[in-house]
């Protein structure tokens, strides 16, 4: 059974954290087509979280076509149209990032500086994509 986590200090809204965890698990193959997500009630009692938040996360996952809710049965992971990231892509991205991080630390950046740089470039790239 899939288990959600909640980081109350991340600044990411709780419903979005749940959405991102399912997205990531599907991407990495931890969640397979046909797998059942925990019932809203189970998530609520596990995390002490507002049921409306869980419902909102599941609605968004349905809209993204990642999962399908079947009344009375639960919420199930769909067959994915866009291919799950292949192991080789994952490994190569992982390696590239690790190399980059080693260079950053070698250049004297600390963890916070790396975070700041990453966030800034990430935002910039996203803005360029939008523009």
């Amino acid at each position: 059974m899939f288990i959600f986590r909640l980081d109350t200090h991340s600044g990411v809204p709780p419903y979005l954290q749940l959405v991102q965890q399912v997205r990531q698990a599907v991407l990495l193959g931890f969640l397979q087509p046909g797998d059942r997500l925990p019932l809203i009630r189970e998530v609520v009692e596990d995390l002490a979280i507002n049921p409306n938040t869980v419902a909102k996360a599941y609605r968004q996952l349905e809209q993204e076509n990642l999962v399908t809710g079947r009344p009375g049965q639960g919420t199930f992971v769909n067959e994915q149209q866009s291919a799950v990231m292949s192991a080789s892509t994952y490994t190569s991205l992982h390696r590239g990032l690790a190399t980059w991080l080693r260079r950053a630390y070698a250049a004297g950046l600390d963890e916070q500086a790396v975070d700041a740089l990453f966030t800034s470039v990430h935002q910039q790239t996203r803005n360029e994509d939008v523009a």
């Binding site: 609520v44 009692e45 002490a48």
Partner: protein
């Protein structure tokens, strides 16, 4: 949801004690079915507002309606739909848990004793123990089980987790959120702990100096506000929506704005604001009449 499905509606509610106004001009419209947090520092008027909602106090001005019924009329039928858990979860310390349940059944029009017994059994709280010998967390759970046994449509809790240790707090919220998941109950609770509100609430009311300074659906409030960070500036701020708070350092300025776009000037970045920071910014604002900010479905 129709307009009649408001859990709570207050119009111009004020409460005056001998030493002055504890609450003024309180106008709220809170939707049913959710979890509403009432936040503010000590002395802000939270307990006064909650006591007005459950009919323990009568307002000096204005009206209070719960689920479409005037609370000031205080009929047993209206009151039977409201559950109230006062601060520090008061129980009769010399009563056993079973005696507390019998007492609850005798005093209420609606009381599901089986439900309460099942809840307490699940938590491993023995019925033959005297309430005073239970741990603080267990006493809170007994009080909550009693309040939920009324099967209230509106459950009002005054600082329910303030006195509990982190584990007991988590267990209390697990049960409370589980009850919300079963459906049918709207929860209104007060807290001066802003941290962790986001995971349990979907609606927020900020109270300061006896006045409502912010109210709305939390997702909407977070979407409407943002932090703008840029080079130090003291002028031309009006381009950036309503400035809730401005903090200047030597070289740069941080603005918390509502409904504001990013300034056209170079060097400005917009960031989402965390709920805790949003609430704190509103609490830091000096009190001024009619400065309440409202948003969300009920606005």
């Amino acid at each position: 949801m129709t307009a009649t499905e408001l859990a709570l509606r207050t119009d111009g509610v004020g409460k005056r004690y001998r030493k002055g106004w504890a609450l003024r001009d309180c106008t709220l419209a809170l939707p049913a079915g959710g979890v509403i947090a009432l936040v503010g520092p000590n002395g802000a008027g939270k307990t006064t507002l909650l006591r007005l909602v459950v009919g323990l106090l009568a307002p000096s001005t204005g009206t209070v309606q719960v689920l479409g019924h005037d609370v000031t009329a205080s009929t047993p039928q209206t009151l039977s739909r409201i559950g109230f858990l006062a601060q520090d979860h008061p129980l009769y310390k010399r009563f056993t848990v079973a005696e507390m349940l019998r007492f609850g059944r005798a005093c209420n029009l609606r009381f599901d004793q089986g439900l309460a017994e099942r809840r307490l059994a699940k938590l491993g709280i023995p019925l033959d123990r005297r309430a005073g010998t239970l741990s603080g967390g267990q006493q809170a759970q007994v009080a909550l089980a009693l309040a939920l046994a009324k099967r209230p449509d509106l459950l009002v809790l005054d600082e329910p987790v303030a006195s509990l240790d982190p584990l007991a707090r988590h267990e209390f919220l697990q049960v409370l959120m589980g009850a919300v998941a079963e459906g049918g109950v709207t929860v209104l609770f007060s807290s001066h702990v802003v941290h962790e509100l986001e995971r349990v609430c979907d609606h927020l009311v900020v109270l300061n100096h006896g006045r409502v300074t912010l109210t709305g659906d939390i997702d909407t409030l977070l979407a409407e506000h943002r932090l703008l960070v840029g080079p130090r500036t003291a002028t031309d701020l009006d381009r950036a929506g309503t400035v809730v708070e401005a903090v200047h350092s030597d070289r740069h300025t941080t603005l918390l704005v509502r409904d504001g776009g990013i300034p056209a000037a170079p060097g400005w970045q917009a960031r989402p604001v965390a709920l805790e920071d949003l609430v704190l910014a509103y609490l830091r604002r000096p009190s001024e009449p009619s400065a309440a900010v409202t948003s969300g479905v009920a606005a």
